[in-house]
Symmetry: C2
Subunit: 387 residues, 2 copies
């Protein structure tokens, strides 16, 4: 166990019918809200009306800012920050999935940023403050509702970069699983992949040889995510499946699985970000390509943790740990195929000829995130496993 | 999954050499500390000097209040609260195990209480505020360092009652596993029992039929606690064992294992509190008596969860779920025997003739905690299984 600090000051309000609480929770943070969302889906689902009614009922003034896209871009953040400044809002409320919450965080930071907002993402400036952030989650996957990360893509460089800072913890996040009933089969699959990716980055890259708390936490959640998916596919309105997936997604990337494991990397995310940034595919769809590729490469150096994963997730026992590891990776890849999340460039429509360009983009990210062992040659080798 | 609110605003600073950070962390909360501790152990271990130096180095004034006993009593709390008021301290810092942290919380509450402090514990008054609470933990077991509970015993009635309120979350808790190297074999065993008890109360009494996140979290931690104990017994200075046990103890009772399971009871604690209150035995030593007794009784009504426990903790598979359940309970009781924590009244020196008196005490607690199915007759029946 390595030294760590663990601190999540986010209040989670979880369950069916909890969204009407947003007004009472929000009014603690001021009188005027910037309400950030995507396009029409929260209006179709009725979440928009419930939130507006609750905010108005609590006497709050609301400024709306919509149009957040999957893989949210800096230009839209900056426009939102200008609006928030002009309107002198007291806090930012994101209503949507991880992209919306990430953009809400970025706007909250942008309002207080004195200089170039991108400098924070590029690791060139340190966050000093941000407006309070609140969230009503409609698509579980990224864990942004209970963590301090915000991932934004630069329109100019097409760099998709994550920033982590304690000022970016939402004050309150409301999670009502029933609003996820309408999430498509496709996006439920991508969400499941994303949640699994968050769980296994630290699990496979941590250096501490004995971390039973964290390993079991991760393994338990990976199995749970798979079980939830099966329930949801049989019945999209299975409350237990939707609710359990939603809470698993939140727990998967709030620091619990990595507290005490020491330094760890996020190479599977580093390899994925260029894919969703350059080809605008879903983050989960990119991850189901990069995860098996990276695991295959990494397990060649040391199979032990991959064999443990194979055994504890898929009940695989083989002649050797090398075999077990390979069978486990195949089983995971097979599961991604089964749920319809692409496992190759070809399946996602990404041209193999672009590897050089994609690798350049990934290399920049590897530098920002301190993944120094990932040279351009190695990144190209890894992408070749993705083709 | 049932609706829940999850909110733990405690900052945990974990690891070797972290105690000198207390001064910097504490000065955010004021200029004058009430430093609460037990007797001589923190002086012998050197923790006292490290804390004093850090507080003084941060320019803080320190008022000391020592003499906290295991199963801390109300009269000592009230004296501490009077001192804290008279000295106008800004916050309360507990240095010790769960008893010290619980008393520090109670003092912090007592300073702000307008009326009778015990009313809060008796469920007759609602907490409105408390001084900020900080902790330096020297004995992991109760989880008080990251939860909102405080357990105090009335000198008058010998009622040992727990109060839960969000004002009682410590602001900061520092956990350095190396200070637990000197915890005796005996107290390490009691701590292990206590941690397991926190994990299984909700696990066995929750009503939701499908809670894979929480079940796996609990099962993983129970196994981990047992593994830690084995490591520590072989080598009391095994850092990984001590550190993992410490973090497991904190996670076991901070609400993670019970979030989403709905209403649950704490019958094994209800049965134990009278034992430690009346006979001044260690809380863990009382629990290793009440846990197998309650499990035996409860599994007769429905064996399923007990069979799951048997399988996932002890790899037990039997002909029937009833048999599996019984074998699992025997295995747990056997483990308690093995580590030297008593599993009967006789082993703990509690007279069987006192059952009536003990049951009266437990019944009061059952009322305060809303465990209405536990009538005096049932409680006596359960204590008979303890003899």
């Amino acid at each position: 166990m390595k030294n760590f600090t663990f601190y999540i000051p986010t209040k989670i309000i979880f369950g069916e019918g909890t969204i009407p609480k947003i007004g009472q929770e929000a009014k603690v943070f001021g009188k005027k809200a910037l309400m950030v969302y995507g396009r029409s889906s929260i209006k179709k689902s009725g979440v928009y009306d419930v939130v507006k009614k609750s905010l108005n009922g609590a006497g709050l003034e609301v400024v709306e800012y919509s149009g957040v896209r999957p893989n949210p871009v800096l230009s839209h953040v900056l426009e939102g920050a200008r609006l928030a400044k002009r309107e002198r809002v007291d806090f930012v409320l994101g209503i949507g999935g991880g992209s919306v919450v990430d953009e809400a965080k970025s706007i909250a930071l942008g309002v207080h940023a004195d200089g170039n907002l991108w400098d924070y993402y590029a690791g060139k400036a340190t966050v000093k403050s941000a407006l309070p952030i609140l969230a009503v989650l409609t698509l579980p996957a990224t864990g942004s509702e209970m963590n301090h990360f915000s991932v934004i893509t630069s329109d100019v460089t097409r760099q998709k970069v994550g920033l982590g800072d304690d000022h970016l913890y939402p004050k309150v996040s409301i999670l009502d699983p029933t609003v996820t009933y309408t999430v498509s089969k496709e996006y439920t699959a991508y969400a499941a992949v994303d949640v699994i990716s968050h769980l296994i980055e630290g699990y496979f890259t941590g250096k501490d040889p004995w971390t039973p708390i964290q390993d079991r936490f991760v393994e338990g959640l990976v199995r749970t995510v798979m079980e939830c998916y099966e329930r949801i596919i049989r019945d999209p309105k299975n409350y237990q499946g939707r609710a359990t997936l939603m809470w698993a997604a939140t727990l998967a990337w709030n620091g619990l699985g990595t507290a005490g494991i020491g330094d760890f990397g996020v190479p599977m995310h580093m390899l994925e970000h260029p894919l969703s940034a350059l080809y605008d595919i879903a983050h989960g769809a990119g991850l189901s390509i990069t995860i098996p590729a990276w695991m295959t490469w990494a397990s060649r150096k040391d199979s032990r943790k991959f064999a443990q994963f194979a055994q504890n997730i898929f009940n695989i026992r083989a002649e050797s740990i090398e075999e077990a590891a390979q069978e486990g990776i195949s089983a995971l890849k097979g599961w991604f195929d089964e749920i319809g999340s692409p496992t190759s460039f070809k399946a996602a429509g990404i041209p193999a000829a672009d590897i050089e360009k994609i690798a350049e983009n990934a290399l920049e990210l590897a530098k920002v995130w301190g993944l120094h062992e990932y040279t351009k040659e190695l990144i190209i080798e890894l992408y070749k496993l993705c083709v």
